[in-house]
Amino acid sequence: MEIIKVEDLSFSYPKEEKKALDYVNLSLREGDFYVLFGKSGSGKSTLLRHLKKELTPVGTKSGQVYINGNNIDEIDNKEATSLVGYVMQSPEGQAVTDKVWHELAFGLESLGFKQVAIRARVAEMAAFFGIEDWFYKNVNELSGGQKQILNLASVMILNPKILVLDEPTSQLDPICASDFFSMLKKINKELGTTIVLCEHRLEEVLQYASKVGFIEEGKLESFDSVSKALDYLKATKSGLIDSFPSYMRVWAKCESSEKSPLSVSEGRSFLNEYKENHASQSKAFHEEKKFDETVLELKDVWFRYEENENYVLKGVNLSLYKGEILSILGGNGVGKSTLLKAITGIKAVKGDIIRKGTVSLLSQNPELMFVKKTLLEDLKSMRGAGEDNESFEKRLKNVIGLCKLEDLLSRHPFDLSGGEKQRAALSKVLLLNPDILLLDEPTKGLDAEFKKEFKAILKALTDAGISIIMVSHDLEFSASVSDNAAMFFDGNVISKGNVYDFFSQNNFYTTQANRISKEIYDECITVDDILYAMGVYKNEDKGDTKQIYYEKIDIEDKGDRNPLYKLPLWRKILGILSLCATICIFVYTMRLGNLADMITKDGITMKGFSHMAIYSLMIVLLFASVLLLTKSTEKKPDTHKKEKLSKRTKAAVLIILLLIPLTLFIWAAYFDKHSFYPVAFLIMIESMAPFFLIFERRKPKARELVLIAALCAITIASRAAFFMLPQFKPVMAMTIICAVAFGGETGFLVGAVSMLVSNIMFSQGPWTPWQMFSMGIIGFLAGVLYKANLLRRNKLSLALFGAVSAIVIYGGIMNPVTALIWGGSVLNTKMLMAHYLSGFPMDCVHAAATFIFLWIISEPMLEKLDRIKEKYGLIE
């Protein structure tokens, strides 16, 4: 019986004319292993998502999808969940919870399984996947490969009949990928699960495939076997053949009536036969490049991350020549990336590194390099110090041309595809005008098409005299672009040599092309080499990469500083003066701490008042200095639509307003009036409860939950970014920003959860619920005031609101609470005042930090949140 049947499926995304899927037909039987391939952006993911009911994209659809004989739209949601399992690309992005056991149980929880049943199923799965040892671990303790196996296991636990995987191994290194595929094979063979998989890396997976198909421009072609697909690709001379294993590529490019080889050994016999029947050069062609000028030299370089830890780099010696491309290869986690960081100087090392010229690193994750809203803005931010417009424009044009970014300039960097992101990041790095370029796994997860383009770019760069060191797991790519290669092992560069010698001398760690041609044709390490040796390619058409050119233009310092950063002198002087005054006052107030002087039986003394006056002066001066020292931006009209307060919010307020007086009344009427703490505690809990309960009752969508969790987590994790500024905690600022963007309730939750989690992580005390409450209330107020039009969406009003709430609300709640907790039953106004005064300097620091933070970050952050709201339809 057909388990998947797709009939005439067409689909286009909203606002796009082009069809993402164009009359797609597909029919798979139970137990099939279907491998789908195609260029990126050809519609692979779109097709796969149509097989999973919950993930079907929004857009115009025609045609039908039948799963297990039923139309997918008519399958009950519960059944749909367990019928089709879906595994995505990112190993990190799919795990929802923090513990392995919880992750495994997640799907079964959704389906409403009972405790005992989940326990049994989890145990079974852990045994099948051999992951019993991980059971109690935190998800983040696992390696990338382990995470992906966990993601697979937590989908398989639902016992799906069909397993759909969207490039599951693109982020893994070859060994982990291989483990993953053998797990898939086990699932397919032992459980009979139907597998639909799309991949760039076909080498490993084709041996398991029972059917293959490819998509081009939304059109799907399917074949009953790999060899039929190959015959078709050979006949049509399709470029898609480039993602196939080398023996198939060799077969497809030469004229032969034989059937395509399906393994390395079949590939070898194919070549042997070909050599007997055809005249050939018998040897690969390669030009000898001569290098003379050294640009980089490492002499006995040692490095370790922490004292008492093992060294990662153990006396590395390495040199790089001008115009050379050097590949550094080696297993996972041996320290290759660390070596690159050491060369850039990000990490301080023992030993000598001599650099002639500037060094720039293109990091493994290109997304981490983009700051601005559009690619063009981002590239423009790379303008050199003092460079004038004209010469920068020239460099910019040069780089944009090289990396083919012309059509992408107005896009948001995060909206680009993987290959586009990589090219954009490269261009950003190139704008630094490096003489030495370091690349960390530049082809990770990218398709053959991209590699071809990238190869051409790298050639152009070396022609312009730039030297390149590349760290990679991708042997084929390294072999095809590098001049020299080196093996990195145990903290050292083991063998460096000409790339041909390097690969042809290795037996295990070498390219597949070398393996199939060894002892048949000499010195062949790439498919192009073999084709040349076979006589298929002549010298002039060796390789089919297009030649492009890059001109290296030096950055000229013409003293043309960016006018945006210029402040008038008077502002500078005044700003610095008031900043100094603030610091002086702060130091002064820290030193007088005798509270007994300030507060007496009759209340606050003159000294106490003067003290408060000094504090106020300090705050005013601080704000003044911030206002004076930061650049002003042009005013933008507040165009955002504001919704009215929702019924839920009103209900929350009403409940709070009713409960609190009631509690006070009961307390006053029936209880000992000296025990303040219990009643205060009760009121606090009563005011928090409605928020949490309403949140539970309205059953928020997955996206909303993830968003809140992500915002809380980033708020706490960002302490790592501000580690050098100890009191600078962005929690309050983020709470206010979230409240403005997503409303009072979300603001409350972000504030309260952030405080709770940071207390769980650091230390808890009687203050925990109070801090949650204070921060939550600030978030709620910010949201409500914004909707009521009292709080405006600009940095000044937000920053002022932040500073005031830090002192009035946060300090106003936390200081008396400290008095309440510690004061016991003898609380009096003087004690309250004493606590307030002693807490005041800290509150000021808090207020100042919040003010500065909101002043700088609120507008860009709100833009970001708005973008997310729009892109993922999160508007309430």
Binding site: Y86, M88, A596, T600, K601, A709, A713, A717, G765
Partner: protein, 295 residues
């Protein structure tokens, strides 16, 4: 999952009720005997949990707080009948306020110690489990937040490295520049976190989140020993509370100090409270003893 002591291996509900009882009692009862019991047992259990580090915690946080509270109270509180001397501003220093200061300091230190034990025993997954019983959605948010934090921390480090490699003048940065850099790192971190959270929500949907009748799985099983422990805690707690309701555990500090011995039943309450506070220590030591004798 490393287990700190035997009591941590009990069901989270037992752990939570226990700490709620002890911390509640410690904050409510100002009776000197009760305070003393709570302080001593708090020190003991913290010692069991943290070993030598406990001493450091005590010296660094508890002692300063103890003395501070002891001094602050008489400085602001002038109730009481026995006047020892007068402050320069004319306020009296009373014997009662000093004693009350001592009591308050003891209470504070005890509460702080018990909270420290609470943090140690109530690991995040126990918290999530407990919340899951009352507010399941919130508990999931909590679990997700804890999952994201290490991930984002790692990302922020990577971003910092990536951004640093884009800067030409890496050395000699002013504070203002540092702040600017930190903020741009943070800002990229937020972008990354938000864009990637979409994957997580897809993964949740793909695994049926949002279907009706979601259950909450836990690795915790309510075993016989949990039931027994709860029963003992209930009995001991009842003894203490009934005594308190009868007024046996009140102690007057102002205007003059007064407390009295009220017979066997009161002594029973002290003993009960003492045993209650020692439960985790007893459990731990008993288990240790059993292991040693088995070997």
């Amino acid at each position: 999952m490393k287990q700190t002591d035997e009591f941590s291996g009990f069901h989270p509900i037992v752990n939570f009720i226990y700490f709620a009882l002890i911390i509640g009692f410690s904050m409510v009862f100002m009776h000197p005997v009760m305070l003393f019991i709570s302080l001593i047992t708090g020190i003991t259990y913290h010692g069991v949990l943290k070993g030598k580090k406990s001493l450091l915690f005590f010296a660094k946080f508890c002692l300063p707080l103890f003395f501070l509270t002891m001094i602050i109270n008489p400085a602001f509180n002038h109730q009481g009948t026995i006047i020892l001397l007068y402050f320069p501003n004319g306020n009296p220093l009373t014997f009662e306020s000093m004693i009350y200061g001592l009591a308050a300091a003891t209470m504070l230190t005890a509460v702080l110690l018990w909270f420290a034990c609470f943090t140690e025993v109530m690991s995040s997954d126990k918290f999530i489990y407990l919340f899951g019983k009352i507010i399941p959605v919130m508990s999931l948010v909590l679990s997700m937040t804890l999952r994201f934090i290490p991930l984002f921390k790692k990302k922020i480090d990577e971003i910092r490295d990536a951004q640093r490699s884009l800067k030409k003048e890496a050395v000699n940065e002013s504070i203002l520049n540092k702040l600017k850099n930190a903020i741009s790192v943070f800002s990229i971190g937020v972008s990354w976190a938000l864009e990637h959270s979409i994957d997580v929500s897809d993964s949740m949907k793909a695994r049926g989140y949002g279907l009706k009748g979601r259950t909450a799985f836990s690795i915790y099983e309510f075993k016989r020993r949990d039931r027994d422990a709860l029963a003992i805690m209930f009995l001991l707690g009842l003894l203490v509370v009934s005594n308190a309701l009868m007024g046996n555990l009140t102690w007057r500090y102002f205007p003059s100090i007064r407390g009295k011995y009220l017979g066997v039943y009161q002594t029973l309450a002290y003993t009960a409270y003492f045993v209650l506070c020692l439960i985790p220590t007893i459990i731990d030591k008993a288990e240790e003893h059993r292991w040693k004798s088995l070997r």
